[in-house]
């Protein structure tokens, strides 16, 4: 019995959720009996004396065979009042139907322009199909409709805010150009979602092939209260986000390179470097072709590859000592999506990290520093005494040991047993034998589990940290090691003399300095041999060069102003290929690749699972939630008017 009741409640709940946006308001229907009660209570009958009620009684008996219902039937006003309440409650519960067309609605069009939209669909790029769909929606706009246009690839761009200016929308749609980047819908979705919070009746339409790499990252908990989704039907969830998915494209004919990377020989061995190429076959047919590896237009190797549909094949090439240049892998295959058939790596020797230690050459600490820095092949180490130090921006890393200059140089700075003159930073007194109490394990300087907690320190400065600084290693009364980076310039201090502690004998000491080296901008730069399309290039200027000229893969050129104090980012990397950056005489080349398996799988999806909603691709015209509360409210008003009219001429009654 209990189970039956539960089943009944569940099915009623489902039915209500499928028809109303706010079913809890239906509880207000319980007001109807109250109205009836009030009606009977408020009814004040005028007493009229008549000669005899004999005939009236007989007449009444004739009519009122079943009195209460008859009475209700005759009480038109009461019925109308109940009808008004019914309509108002239904309007509050926001019933909706899925309907075509979009009159009076606000639409947010999210148009995919990722790499896969370049896919050739019977001679036309897939992008054209998407534009066609978008234009069709704009053409179907009705009076009062407004459309917001957002295009998205790895980032979202708002092309038109909510507007009813059709020519502008059409022009903006025509202007959308596909990029070579991944599809990330997250930003675009948040744009639409935030608009949905402030705009009534917003309906979002995603026009895409559905090959989106970050669908899992859209989690509703990021934007507002989580509804009890697990118990809701798919329709209910879809309804919550009122969104339609318009699928474009049909081609699946593609194979592409999805991984192209360099493997350095492991430490201590003398083997060659290796290059890994992973080929993915997204087609329904098996693929048999060749991969050509070339270096600066010289073919190094050609290898055959066979891949089953939907499978990957891995090719490993041994790379001879070839020095600096561009390594290119090419899949010798014609398909509908050529963008992923080629990939590049920019090979360059690891950049030298120019390091200056400002310290008395005879100090014990200087010895430890040289011991830990000299063996690293990346480090170009210079040592200078504080007395002969003059400000120089030539160094990537400057270590001040017991000495702080008046003016701070560029590059990454480390202060040992001294503090730079920065606002709010100072030391009060010394602490004897400070124990190490807490570590900020998340900090880049403590990567690889650097843990100096068993180090003994004779005495340390009692450092007062300003709000913007971040303690890295702390003792009872403050930071022993702190991050005092300002803007893009990395700075840190060690608040004690390393020679007055046993830290240099501890394993954490060389690891810590490895991290300091990795923290420098130069180190970050030299790591990238391949950059995903859409990610910015990091440009580190030469001291005397004000501008860098960047030559894009399509041979167009852009000028970027450099800043000697900090790296500059160049973000227009939507094309794949080789970007050449000229800093005056010196040139640097960056390889920008797509290398994305989701993007290479060009076959369109029939379904989008965004957040907790699952959206089927629309067939035919877009169907969207059309709310009915306006009509109900208008009906309620009409009934009120009718009731008033009847009330004012009660003689008719």
């Amino acid at each position: 019995m209990n189970a039956m009741w539960t089943n009944f409640v569940t099915s009623v709940d489902k039915a209500l959720n499928a028809a109303f946006l706010a079913p809890p308001f239906l509880w207000l229907l319980s007001l109807i009996p109250i109205i009836i009660l009030l009606y009977f209570l408020k009814l004040r009958r005028t007493p009229v004396v008549i000669s005899s009620t004999l005939l009236w009684m007989k007449s009444l008996q004739d009519i009122t065979a079943n009195a209460p219902f008859q009475r209700l039937r005759r009480n038109l006003l009461l019925l109308l009042q109940i009808l008004v309440l019914l309509l108002a409650v239904l309007a509050l519960a926001r019933p909706f139907v899925k309907a075509e067309g979009s009159a009076g609605r606000n639409l947010c069009l999210l148009v995919d322009r990722s790499a896969s939209m370049k896919t050739n669909e019977n001679g036309r790029p897939r992008m054209d199909l998407a534009k066609q769909e978008a234009l069709r929606i704009v053409d179907e706009m009705q009076r009062g409709d407004k459309v917001m246009l957002v295009s998205f690839a790895d980032k979202a761009d708002v092309l038109c805010e909510l507007t009813d200016d059709r020519p502008r929308l059409r022009a903006a749609i025509e202007d959308i150009q596909p990029t070579d980047t991944q599809t990330k819908v997250r930003d675009a979705y948040f744009v639409a979602y935030s608009l949905q919070l402030t705009t009534r009746d917003l309906h979002s339409v995603i026009i895409s092939d559905g090959d989106i790499s970050d669908l899992d990252e859209i989690v509703p908990r990021n934007f507002g209260p989580v509804r009890q989704v697990s118990e809701q039907s798919t329709e209910a969830r879809a309804r919550f986000y009122d969104l339609s998915f318009v699928k474009v494209g049909s081609s699946v004919k593609n194979a592409g390179i999805v991984v192209f990377s360099l493997r350095e020989p492991s430490e201590g061995t003398t083997g060659d470097r290796q290059v890994l190429v992973l080929v993915h076959n997204a087609d329904t047919e098996p693929l048999s072709t060749t991969v050509t590896l070339s270096f600066e237009d010289t073919t190094l190797a050609v290898e055959e590859v066979s891949v089953e549909p939907g499978q990957d094949a891995e090719l490993v090439f041994r790379l001879p000592e070839i020095g600096e240049g561009i390594l290119k892998a090419e899949l010798d295959h014609q398909d509908d999506f050529p963008t992923d058939n080629v990939a590049w790596l920019s090979l360059h020797p690891a950049a030298k990290i120019r390091t200056l230690v400002v310290a008395e050459p005879t100090a014990t600490g200087t010895y430890f520093l040289q011991r830990v820095l000299t063996p690293d092949p990346r480090v170009e180490l210079s040592t200078i005494a504080p007395a002969s130090y003059s400000n120089s921006d030539d160094y990537d890393l400057t270590i001040f040991y017991g000495f702080a200059p008046e003016q701070l140089p560029a590059g990454t700075l480390l202060f040992i047993n001294t503090l730079p003159k920065l606002e709010g930073l100072g030391s009060e007194s010394a602490i004897e034998g400070p124990p190490i109490l807490s570590l900020d394990a998340e900090h880049p300087l403590l990567r690889f589990n650097v843990n100096p907690s068993n180090v003994s320190i004779r005495s340390a400065m009692k450092v007062v940290l300003p709000d913007w600084a971040r303690p890295v290693v702390s003792t009872t009364s403050g930071a022993l090691i702190g991050d005092i980076s300002r803007g893009a310039q990395h700075m840190a201090f060690i608040g004690f003399d390393i020679a007055e502690s046993d830290w240099p004998l501890n394993l954490s000491f060389p690891l810590f300095f490895q991290n300091v080296l990795a923290w420098t901008t130069r180190a970050a730069l030299s790591a990238d041999v391949s950059i995903p399309a859409g990610k910015p290039l990091t440009l580190v200027g030469e001291p005397d060069v004000a501008n860098a000229t960047i030559t894009l893969p399509d041979a167009s050129k852009e000028q970027v102003a450099l800043d000697p104090m900090r790296p500059v980012y160049f973000s227009n990397t939507n094309q794949i290929g080789i970007y050449t950056v000229a800093y005056g005489e010196r040139k640097e080349r960056f390889a920008v690749n797509l290398l994305d398996k989701v993007e290479s799988s060009i076959g369109p999806s029939d379904k989008l699972a965004i957040g907790q909603g699952e959206f089927e691709a629309e067939r035919g015209r877009i169907r969207q939630n059309r709310e009915l509360w306006r009509y109900l409210l208008a009906g309620a008003l009409c009934v009120i008017a009718l009731e008033w009219w009847l009330f004012s001429r009660r003689a008719w009654m």
Partner: protein
């Protein structure tokens, strides 16, 4: 009584003159109590010859027709039509419900009764009147002659409606008390919870020549009822609650028509004269035309 009726205002002089041309007609020949202006079933000593019969011993010799004895040598008695008086019973329902309506039913009924009574008095008929009400009956002892007209009018003007109707009971009592047969006229709205039939039956059983004047007010015939009302019975104080609607009104009128028709048929079947008298009908017309046509006047 709702209207301020006095003996003087009950009937005006002009109307009285018109009434003097009328006489009450009894459809049956009744046995009267005293010698009067009416033919009697008895043969007696009036001037109107009726028949002869053989002389039997003991007959009054003064009535022997000596002319026939001279010719036929046989004794015949000459018979004359006896003339007697007629008793007009005016029975007025004075229950509370009769006070209702504009003009009031009791006012209308008493004026009618006055007219009939006056015609009776000037016709040298015995006229008796009685008002039925809950507190008991008030009555006018039978009287004769135009000189008693003032007495009759004063009595009628003094009738005040009160209490509930018990028509059958009142009629029964009246019939038992007044054995004299004649013409009985009942003025009532016949709105008796026990039904009008027992009352009319009693009336008929009295042997008199019976008439019913059914008095209804215009408010009863076409009630001006609007809205949600509590209808209070003027006699019993009972009430019913109605919300007026076209359907209810139609049903009421149908019932009223049915009620009147039932009374009319009941009367027709029993030889009772039925006169339907809405209280707003022209009094003169009703008296001079309708009643004459109904057979009450000649």
């Amino acid at each position: 009584m709702s209207e301020n009726v006095t003996a003087e205002t009950l009937l005006d002089a002009e109307f009285l003159r018109k009434l003097e041309r009328l006489a009450i007609s009894a459809r049956k020949v009744q046995l009267g109590l005293a010698k009067g202006e009416r033919k009697s079933k008895r043969k007696g000593s009036s001037v109107e010859f009726a028949d002869y019969r053989d002389y039997v011993q003991g007959d009054d010799l003064r009535h022997v027709d000596w002319n026939i004895y001279g010719r036929l040598n046989a004794l015949y008695l000459k018979l004359f039509q006896e003339s007697e008086d007629l008793t007009v019973h005016l029975l007025i329902d004075a229950s509370r419900s009769m006070a209702y309506g504009t003009p009031s039913k009791i006012g209308f009924a008493t004026r009618l009764a006055a007219a009939i009574g006056y015609v009776g008095l000037i016709g040298y008929d015995r006229v008796s009147a009685e008002a039925f009400s809950q507190s008991g009956t008030s009555r006018l002892i039978p009287c004769r002659g135009k000189a008693k007209a003032r007495l009759l009018l004063s009595f009628l003007a003094s009738i005040t409606p009160e209490g509930a109707t018990h028509l059958a009971q009142s009629t029964h009592t009246y019939v038992l008390r007044n054995r004299a047969k004649g013409v009985a006229v009942l003025f009532s709205d016949l709105m008796d919870p026990d039904g009008f039939e027992p009352c009319l039956r009693k009336l008929q059983q009295s042997g008199s020549d019976c008439y019913v004047v059914h008095v209804l007010s215009p408010d009863e015939i076409d009630p001006p009822i609007v809205g949600d009302l509590r209808l209070v019975d003027s006699e019993t104080g009972e009430f019913i609650e109605i919300s007026s609607s076209p359907m209810l009104l139609k049903r009421y009128k149908d019932n009223l028509t049915g009620f009147c028709e039932a009374v009319r048929k009941f009367c027709l079947a029993r030889g009772i004269g039925y006169i339907f008298a809405p209280s707003d009908t022209s009094f003169e017309r009703l008296t001079l035309e309708v009643m004459r046509r109904g057979g009450l006047f000649r």
